[in-house]
Symmetry: C2
């Protein structure tokens, strides 16, 4: 639409003409509130700083700056620095089908991987199926791309692929199916091998792309992680995140895509930000060049998070009988239900914040379902003393919310 002269051309109006890309972001406000002075946060999915291999990263950085400083500060190819592409190909091959470096695109975090896939794959009005509830960052990307969301219920074993199959058989179509196969955010579910296989069959049959977003896979508390869906399907784009296993602040991640997609993704990446920061790629590929490092580090991480998860679960069982949840199997989150119908998570949230404890209410993660009784707790950040105090504050907050809700005039 064209702009008319003078006063009419103001910025507010320019923006008001836009097509709804500017929805305000509830969860950003929630996470901002969680970092306020005096608030103990069970909200963010932020890895604990104890988990960062600081001395190893510093040593790798020193080696890079001593030997290749000028290269590490210069422009690099859009696809990624060769050693980083190779490192990511090795990581991907260790837990899935064999991957070569030319199938890897280095991205500025997995979030960029999602955004690039949406750019390359989706046109306005295309459908994307995804588990309901789902990772909010993915939902936002798909919505911004103009996609219609096809929410599919899940359970402890991940997306109900039988329900997806029914819908496809009834005529629904989608260009992509988005899954977080291991320790799903927010639900903690793990997609079973049977459902992975089923999903791959459906992908073959209906021609959709499987977007496999798998940042928590290494954080399994028991046994070893399951293989990736790419063992079973040829239309899989895998996002490889290092944010939860190494650290998030370097913003170096990658994706593995079939040859038919990778060229388009590189072009999209070039338009988006030319390339991922060179220094971070050299530092992480230097670190990952030691084959001993990552397996040992991941063992330590699993131990660390298993202990944090167990401790939080124990406290919740003991002190918050109104909260139900599945025992954590990996990842960073507990997905909980408030069993008392008088108190919703949205109602509890501001009272908890006033008591000095933050969590994320379930509703922002939900597409179709209400999620009013759900909430997500992260055990990643707090130490033992903080954890205990946070649970006590939640208990006090719940008491107040219940008292509030039980007053005769409160249900209006």
């Amino acid at each position: 639409m064209s702009l008319t002269h003078s006063a009419q051309g103001d910025l507010g109006q320019l923006l008001a003409q836009r097509t709804g890309r500017g929805r305000s972001d509830a969860i950003r406000q929630i996470l901002a509130a969680a970092t306020a002075e005096g608030v103990l946060s069970l909200a963010g999915g932020i890895p604990t700083p104890d988990s960062f291999p600081v001395s190893r990263i510093t040593a790798a950085m020193d080696r890079v700056m001593a030997g290749r400083a000028v290269t590490a500060l210069q422009y690099a190819p859009t696809e990624g620095v060769p050693s980083m592409r190779e490192a990511l190909a090795r990581l991907a091959s260790a837990t899935g089908a064999s991957v070569t470096a030319d199938q890897v695109l280095v991205t500025s975090g997995s979030q960029q991987g999602l955004d690039l896939i949406a750019q390359v794959l989706l046109d306005e009005g295309d459908s994307v199926a995804l588990e309901d509830p789902s990772y909010l960052g993915a939902v936002q990307v798909f919505r911004r791309a103009g996609a219609r969301l096809l929410p599919v219920p899940g359970d402890r074993d991940g997306m109900r692929t039988d329900i997806l199959a029914e819908r496809l058989s009834a005529g629904d179509r989608c260009k992509a199916v988005y899954v977080v196969p291991h320790f799903h955010n927010p639900t903690g579910s793990v997609l079973t091998p049977e459902r992975r296989r089923h999903l791959a069959e459906l992908s073959d049959r209906y021609g959709f792309v499987i977007i496999e977003d798998d940042p928590y896979a290494d954080l399994a508390f028991v046994g070893s992680r399951l293989p990736s869906t790419d063992l079973y399907g040829e239309r899989v784009v895998r996002l490889l995140s290092l944010s939860k296993t190494l650290c998030p602040g370097l913003r170096v991640a990658g994706l593995v895509a079939p040859p038919a997609l990778i060229g388009e993704l590189v072009t999209a990446k070039q338009c988006s930000d030319l390339q991922t920061n060179t220094l971070g790629q050299y530092v992480l590929s230097e670190l990952l060049a030691d084959p001993e490092f990552l397996p040992g580090h991941v063992r330590r991480l699993r131990q660390l998070y298993r202990s944090k998860a167990g401790a939080l679960a124990g406290l919740l069982h003991e002190r918050l009988p109104w909260l139900s949840f599945d025992e954590p199997r990996g990842g960073l989150f507990l997905w909980c239900s408030i069993t008392d119908p008088l108190v919703s998570a949205d109602r509890l949230y501001p009272i908890a914040l006033a008591e000095g404890v933050a969590f994320v209410p379930g509703s922002p993660f939900c597409v179709d379902r209400a999620g009013a009784q759900q909430l997500r707790l992260s055990y990643a950040s707090l130490d033992a003393a903080q954890r205990s105090k946070a649970v006590d504050r939640l208990s006090v907050a719940f008491g107040k919310a219940l008292a509030d809700a039980s007053r005769p005039d409160s249900r209006s």
Copy 2:
């Protein structure tokens, strides 16, 4: 469009359904060829490694890793690390209207700034006016956003704002005008104060946003840089690049935008990549905290590039009489015309490459005009011996191209 069963759903077809976002990128191939073994490159706009303040960056990095390693490796706000926003606000204020940190968004290079502005501002079919020829990375972003390009001729003094005014007065409309005000890529033009003021008046009158992309501003060979357009207009988004003044490999840049836009840009950034890498922000804000550093470094840079530019210009005058160009005033490029109509830049290019010297033909930068006789030479990368050899190779290549073109059967 919906996908049908079985074999029809293959990836190639998925992509073939897309709406023309996948145009292959001529300049990427040109720049890739320029890095081949034995090729002397006058092609890329890549800063010379001599210009990187390596020891200062290393020292800043050491201080960050000694004092704040965990914070520098952790997630950071989408808007940017506060000290980096403040550093960018100080830089912007030094050469334009007074800017506060809350008007600054840290971006993953200026390229991302362009992409975010396009996301927030442009709908399919909106027009963007820009100088013809223009920076290809910007052209690509606007095209991907579905914008129509409104090319406006330029000269040594930048965009012909009188021609833009005529078109607007005749009924053309645009949502944004894109300018590279100092030492334009590829032409080297500098927008005069009169035209800046005129552009700001037009922006007020017609309500378009001025996108000011200014990576070369500090690289003035004589006098001091001119103030930014934001002195004259309230609808200006300024892109602040550090790639040519510090180094490109950290991918830390910023943009300054009016309050009405900044929130939308932050939301777009969050979807695109959550945040710019934390480490790079801490390192550069640490470096820029010393107020003495940048002015001295920039003085040295100007000297360095002035001397390189002068040396290349001298050699061209001496040995390539068939090439005409304006004397360089700043930036990284010479925009040249081949004066012999028998030889076009596209014809010369493969012959030059075979001789072991690369440049960028003009046509990829051009929107409407042909640019067949133009080419862009960068004086940034080569040292004195390489420069001399590169010019000799260009001379040989031209001789061969001319001989080729003069053969009776060659004009078919």
